[in-house]
């Protein structure tokens, strides 16, 4: 179960040993995570602004810097989501140069996980796995189930039993085998590493993890390209396992090295919910020693108490001159509402975390109003509607009469307009 490729191969982050391409996530010698390492000079004449612009409107326009086996024919138009100028949200929170990267509309399952899964499954097929799986807080489950169905691969997906009902249903509908585990994500993840040890399955975030994680780079490529091939001053990224924020930086570094953008020092800001904030706590304490937590937050997609890439993420954030913040569940809901009310984007709880943390960073003066800042929204609010339960009254129905409508509006507005009411009464008859 391995293949050779001249463009990229696995390399140990710690000891530098190389491993070719195989389903392996940790260095057998020093146990550190493996990373896909590219021969960047080999793609110098290929990975160009012109070639990318001529490519498809999906992450596959960046295929030269993704670990995609030779001969793989991309199928689904994943990614290439909107980057919108968030003028209205900016007015509310004191930002004049704020953008939102909107992966709430990522194809096919409405979260940024579609990016990583498509890259992981390309490798799962190349390695010859007939069953794929994952441990998931929901979005990953949805994406693995959908894309495995499309590719005709069997899927076995493990999730914490208390997951949002919409995320459970959004996995089952694709025909995937779903196993609910009586425990939190960290229990599920540990079990998956044991399963990957015993079964010849491709777990996208376990033995396929190095390939999977590379898919996150496409968020960084897209931000730079959609800004007209320039880098922002700041990026605000939600953190669960701590992988996405690092991969966005890796993407920026690659673009600088290959000359697609001018060199720029980008500051990285991490966002967590206070009820599960091991990485933001470490950043605030100035350490990369992550103390695990038992998650207790409505932002379940970020509820990883023992984040695998946490130490590296905490160090990278501090080295960049950035910061990490965490917000309460009340602020998470307010953040969801704020983004919907100002920009028309309905994001899930994780996006509420990012929005609320972004507001906090401006309020605290950690980001200046005019700095070009991108907030990364990673998932769709339709999957976590339960977070809003009780926040909106279920309105009573009114009769289908214009007069009733007018009266009802006045009732809602708390106003009395007798003349209009009288006119309405005449028309009603």
């Amino acid at each position: 179960m391995n293949y050779s490729c001249s463009r990229y191969e696995l390399k140990c982050n710690e000891c530098g040993k190389r491993f070719g391409n195989q389903p392996l996530s940790a260095c057998p010698d020093c146990l550190a995570p493996l990373e896909v390492d590219y021969d960047l000079d080999a793609v110098r004449g290929i990975f160009t602004r012109e070639n990318i612009a001529a490519g498809p409107a999906s992450i596959w326009r960046y295929a030269a810097l993704l670990p995609i086996p030779d001969g793989f024919q991309p199928d689904l138009p994943v990614g290439f989501t909107p980057l919108i100028r968030a003028t209205n949200l900016g007015k509310r929170i004191g930002a004049t140069n704020l953008y939102v990267k909107n992966d709430a509309v990522c194809f096919p399952t409405l979260s940024f996980k579609d990016r990583v899964v498509s890259v992981a499954l390309a490798n799962a097929q190349r390695f010859g796995f007939d069953t794929v799986g994952c441990s998931s807080t929901g979005n990953l489950a949805n994406s693995v189930a959908a894309q495995a169905a499309r590719l005709g691969i069997k899927a076995c997906i493990l999730v914490p039993s208390d997951l949002e009902p919409a995320k459970i249903l959004n996995t089952q509908v694709y025909g995937a085998r779903l196993v609910r585990i009586d425990g939190n994500y960290d229990h599920v993840n540990r079990l998956c590493s044991q399963i990957a040890d015993e079964y010849t399955w491709g777990f996208v975030n376990v033995n396929l993890r190095p390939y999977y994680a590379e898919g996150s780079k496409t968020v960084g490529y897209e931000i730079a390209e959609k800004l007209g091939w320039r880098l922002p001053d700041n990026v605000v990224v939600p953190m669960a396992g701590g992988s996405l924020i690092r991969k966005i930086r890796k993407a920026f570094q690659e673009l600088i090295y290959l000359g697609l953008v001018e060199e720029k020092h980008v500051r990285f800001f991490g966002a967590q919910a206070t009820g599960c904030s091991p990485i933001s706590v470490a950043v605030k304490q100035g350490t990369d020693d992550i103390q695990p937590q038992k998650p207790n937050t409505i932002a379940r997609s970020l509820a990883i108490g023992n984040p695998a890439d946490g130490p590296a993420a905490a160090k990278m954030i501090r080295d960049s001159g950035g910061w990490a913040e965490d917000v309460s569940d009340v602020e998470v809901v307010a953040g969801m509402q704020e983004l919907a009310e100002t920009e028309g984007i309905f994001t899930e709880t994780a996006g509420g975390v990012t929005t609320a943390v972004t507001a906090r960073l401006y309020a605290d003066g950690r980001i200046s109003p005019d700095e070009l800042t991108v907030a990364c929204i990673t998932g769709n609010g339709l999957k976590t509607t339960d977070a809003l339960t009780g926040h909106y009254e279920e309105e009573r129905a009114i009769r289908p009469r214009l007069a009733d409508f007018g009266a009802y509006l006045r009732e809602l507005d708390g106003t009395q307009e007798p003349e209009l009411a009288a006119a309405g009464a005449i028309h009603a008859n």
């Binding site: 996530s25 940790a26 057998p28 020093c30 040890d197 993890r209 695990p292 695998a308």
Partner: protein, 93 residues
């Protein structure tokens, strides 16, 4: 008061293929000393140059991360199942 120690496949090249063994260790430092004696090659793999447990290894006692139980101070109970798992485990050579 023996405990049962469970290992992932990645470690078994240093244990003659054994994926579990019993230990009379009282706590985590005791277990590491036991591994030093019984499986010196494994000991080298799971410790860094300073002799400390590598930061990429997580230790679980009966499904619970040992750091929630007091870490090195936790006194093993009779019949405890102790698992050593790399933090980003998965796959084998």
């Amino acid at each position: 008061m023996p405990i049962k120690v469970l290992l992932p496949t990645a470690f078994t090249r240093h244990t003659d293929g054994r994926k579990q063994f019993d230990s009379a260790a009282q706590n985590l430092p005791g277990l590491l000393a036991d591994i030093d004696q019984t499986f010196p090659a494994l000991s080298t793999q799971i410790k860094d140059d300073d002799g400390k447990l590598r930061r990429f290894i997580n230790i679980y006692v009966n499904d619970e991360d040992i750091r929630f139980l007091g870490g090195e101070a936790y006194a093993f109970q009779d019949g405890d199942e102790v698992m050593l798992i790399p933090s980003i485990a998965g796959g084998s050579l």
